[in-house]
Amino acid sequence: MALSPREVLARMLLMRRFEEMVITLARAHKLGRQHLAIGNEALGAAALMQLRAGDLIYTTHRNHGHMIARGVDPGKALAEILGRAGGLNGGKGGTWHMTDPSLGFQSTSAMVGGSIGLSVGGAFALKHKKTDNVAVALFGDGALDEGIAYEALNIASLYALPVLFLCENNSKEGEAQTSRLATKELTAVPKALKIACASVDGGDPEAAGKAVATALAHVRDGNGPYFLEAQLVRWPGSHQTVHAFTTGVTDVTAAWDSAKASNVHAEWQRTDPILRTARTLIARGTVTREDVVALDNAAAVTMAKARGFAEASPYPKPEAALAGVFV
């Protein structure tokens, strides 16, 4: 089941406009810190759009993109980030812990390495129940610093568990280094544990989509775990505690209009997965410039509605803090 490039671009645009709305709302409502997925859209859309009902997903502090890529209601997601009663978790989770079990989300842990550990439990259950569903662990390169990563990879390989380890590697040496591994080759670790693995350009939705399809087929067919490293670009704003629109609100026409070129962020404009994908699809004749603008406008309309829903949603009653600890 190959993905439609147009639908993938549309989803990527929604992911981008979602995060930009988060920045806007964070300012307006004086929110604390969020970890945004700007720059991760191509891999996120290509991977999450291929999952089926019954697949189990485990994600991290940087979960917004995964939520939107999988098709979570952006209004409920924004409401959660605002701590409102209408949010996905009723305001109990916030930006770091959004979850939607109806779409397979089992856990969003802000503990580095949390997702990779729980995912093998999900895979263990899926194998026990003899389904062809898979568990998907999304995690950053930093998770490989933690001992749990080694233990999880080992047991997944040992028991041939149906789990896709999907590593979003956004580390850049120096300032933006989020892992400190003695090897530059992330796949060396799973390889040593006899796990099938590959690396892919996570900024290219087609390449990423194919790599994920191969990985999912391997896991669904009962061949045990698969480790896919997606090499991501790093958005220049991503290390800031309170996000500014470092690179400006995305202007899709910058994909073709040289008058929109930025001197400061030329490298970002070259590698931004949104602009890059738009350029590729236009050059190939898959979409027109007008199509791109129309898809972007549709994303903006969806986000305006989502904002309306989120801001209209009330805060939960204070006493709700004491409820719901046990089933």
Binding site: L31, G32, R33, E80, G83, R84, G87, N89, G91, K92, G93, G94, T95, W96, H97, S109, A110, M111, V112, G113, G142, A143, D145, E146, G147, I148, S179, R180, L181, Y315, P316, K317, P318, E319, A320, A321, L322, V325
Partner: protein
Amino acid sequence: MSQKSFTVAMIDALAHSLKNDPNVVVIGAHSFLSDRGLKPEDERALWDAFPDRLIDPPTSEGVCTSLATGAAMAGMRPFLNYGTATFAYEAFNQIMSETANVHAMSGGQLRAPLTLHMFAGIRGGGAGQHSSSPQAMYANSAGLELVLPASPADAQGLLRSAIKSDNPTVVITHTKLLAMTGDVPDGDFTIPFGQARIAREGRDVTIVATSLMVREALKAAEALAKDGVEAEVVDPRTIVPLDAETICASVRKTGRLVTVDEGNALCSISSEISALVAERAFDALKAPILRVARPPVPIAFSPPLEAHVTPNADKVVAAVKKLTQA
């Protein structure tokens, strides 16, 4: 004396330790030193002065604890900073089974002089995984000293003592105290463990509070004074060892006790202090002991939910009034 922020006071204690003892190393230096109120040139000077002793490790709390403990046992004096306290849960086995047992389990032959530091507490939007107040768990370890500084001067003096201590010492800093400023003695100094501080004298009720809750207790005392209730605020400063004498002497004077602790009330520091007073000064009590602490729930993200379960001055006032008006 000079005015300093809590974080700068702690960094000064660290700088004195680094200068005075070549065996001191800082593991997890970045989140302790950067963006913590130092002038940029002062921060740069520190990194330049100790390039091999300020270390930024991988996100590997487990092995960092083993590394620090092993190095301490082999003659070094490490200071390990975890960042947010919950990250240390990754190292619970190492802390509880290895570090805490080194000295006693070897029949006194070995020692592990290291400091384990973490930023804790309900901090605003931390949700379930970034809001812990884990002090009682460490107090329960048997083998770890436990320090809860509540002012810049105490932070500097107690941290200096922690690093000099030949025992493993856990230091927990509340994130909401980081920006607090106060008078700090000049130069290098220590504050001994096991000596409570009377933060405010009073005759009607004893409020024993720790960490950020000292500040809330003092606010409560101000409010109560307006109604003619004089509260004595006692800050134990270290829980292991605990200055039982000062706490009991205060209760003998006032006849009433409220304990204030941000940790979960169940099996907490406030429970321990309540039990201590019940055992040793029951005859002096004119009213039941009350605990102001967080209820046993994971902290929710949403601001009104978080506020509902956070102990504060108003809740302390309400507890004291219950006792004095009874």
